[in-house]
Amino acid sequence: MKAKKSIGRIIFEIFNTVLMILMVLISIYPIWYTLIASVSDSDSLMRLGGGMLWLPVNFNLTAYQKAFANSSIATGYMNTLFVVVSGVFFSMLFSTIGAYFLSRENVMFQRQITFFIIFTMWFSGGLIPFYIAVRDAGMLNSRLSLIIPSLISTFNMIILRTAFAAVPSSLSESAVIDGAGHLTVLFRIMIPLSGATLAVIGLYYGVSYWNAWFNASIFLQSAVNKWPLQLVLRQILIVNDTSSMTSNLSAGDQEKVGESIQYAVIIIATLPILFIYPFIQKYFVSGVMVGAVKG
């Protein structure tokens, strides 16, 4: 089977391998650098004045102590955990029900309702009318505004529908003949047979709730104690940063001390995702594939 490789081919393969190694390094180094900088001594970091870092200089964890001592980070963490757990639960519940409905055949208004839902992927009212709708629902400054307005992602629901539609219809038909209702078919047949896709969608929802910050920034403007972690981060890392930058450099010294704390905060907010990522990565991929097949 193995044919002899031409010289051009060998050169290409070496070049390609080197390029891919470079690609891997570029993907991971910024994260590695952040991790290293967060456990390094601020003064030593400053003396280096940038430049590549491979290992921590004067390893210490004071940045983390200081970060955790900041009460808004702790509160943000709890708020995010609450939103992720309850958000994933309710999003999964309603997406599953919706996907089950869309996957049924012989339901009279199914086609119209499918169109009613898909249409929203193509046309939307935009940011301001959406904001007004949430405000009219009385959800401003309530935690509900982080979950209910973004409860169902149409894209995720369509992926789930594809998985349900792939379950042989003979299974649900025979269950119906045996007297099973829709709930039984859904929970006893569809859900157990679509485990992998359900896991992917659950993870998609989890990541999006974990990373969300924008809705909180417009809906929770005067409820700082309900802010999720990402919004707290933005306040610490970006908004404050900008204000110190636009004033003058007198606060420079303080800023330097803060640098490793900034990196520590970034790591705190990213670690849960980095930690579970390797284990769930293969599911993510299959989820995208299902979506891709449907196109």
């Binding site: 391998t17 690609m23 891997v24 993907s27 029900i97 339901v107 046309f123 009212g125 709708a133 829709h182």
Partner: protein
């Protein structure tokens, strides 16, 4: 006449039967439908605000219609032209450089021989996709500071201010950080399409004496074309859309002249200044342009390659 009545009767009968049979299914679906009605269709109805002098107290029904006044104000805004130009600049740069990147990565990954190496490259290059935008933008900010990783490296430590303050660099910063975050994940769809290509095609080509380059040119690329075209049309449809989230996180007074885009304007006018009518009008304008571009891209693609979304 009689048959018409008959069909109507039969239709009513069918509806009744359907509801009888599937009542529990419709009941289950009700919350989902209400969700779409309230959070998707109510905002569409809210687009009426674009033609109103919207009054927060009285709502849409009690607000006065003002015709196209909001649109006139939007077009007359001194920053209108700048915002449109910035949006198109960022978006086109993102398409020209960001669109081919995942395709090229997928082709290169496809050429790798060792299974474990392929896995490693994929696992690591997908990772940035899952990191939050706030974190990515914070890293970009820190690395571009005078003593930050990238700025210190490029300037040899002589920089005195953040590269983000340089308006001329905003588009490359935006596009490169986007590619960094999304290139791996974007390649998945092409890798899926590549694995779907029939191996026999390659074998037949080999027998006919086609080399690797010819095989890529004459088999791989044509087989990928439908995927590429669909993604490109979808992308072109968004040519006037640059998401506000990343702009909000990266913009500052020094780079505003190149960083402020249409969606940021909508955010600023609508959310920060509560000028709802104007912001809604700007959003509606944006949606219409997008629709126009999707239709145009689809037409062109059908004319040129025979491939289209519909």
């Amino acid at each position: 006449m009689i048959t018409q009545q008959n069909t109507r009767l039969r239709y009513k009968e069918r509806v009744r039967k359907d509801f009888q049979k599937n009542f529990s299914l419709y009941l289950l679906m009700l919350p989902v439908i209400l969700f779409y009605l309230y959070f998707h269709y109510k905002p569409m109805y809210g687009l009426i605000m674009a033609f109103q002098n919207y009054n927060v107290r009285t709502g849409i029904l009690g607000s006065q219609l003002v015709g196209l006044k909001n649109f006139v104000r939007f077009f007359a805004d001194p920053y209108f032209k700048r915002n449109i130009v910035n949006t198109i600049n960022i978006s086109l740069a993102n398409i020209v450089f960001g669109f081919p990147a995942p395709l090229i990565l997928a082709l290169l990954i496809n050429e790798l021989q060792k299974k474990w190496f392929v896995k490693t490259v994929q696992t690591i290059s997908y990772m940035p996709h899952f990191i939050s935008l706030v974190v990515i933008c914070s890293m970009v900010r820190n690395f571009l500071q005078p003593d930050g990783l990238i700025n210190a490296f490029l300037s040899g430590g002589k920089a005195t201010e953040s590269m983000l303050n340089n308006a001329g660099l905003f588009v490359p910063i935006y596009v490169l950080s986007d590619i960094w975050q999304e290139v791996g994940f974007g390649s998945i769809i092409y890798i899926a399409a590549l694995s779907g290509i029939d191996v026999e095609l390659y074998e037949a080509a080999k027998i006919d004496g086609a080399g690797r380059i010819r095989q890529t040119w004459n088999i791989t690329l044509p087989c990928l074309m439908p995927t590429v075209i669909v993604l490109l049309i979808l992308r072109l449809g968004n040519v006037l859309t640059v998401g506000y989230e990343k702009i909000i996180l990266l913009t500052n007074p020094f780079n505003a002249e190149t960083s402020e885009v249409l969606s940021y304007y909508i955010y600023q006018k609508g959310i920060l200044s509560a000028d709802y009518g104007l912001a809604t009008a700007a959003g509606l304008f944006n949606s219409f342009i997008n629709c126009f571009f999707v239709i145009a891209a689809n037409k062109i693609s059908r004319g040129v390659s025979g491939l289209s979304l519909w």
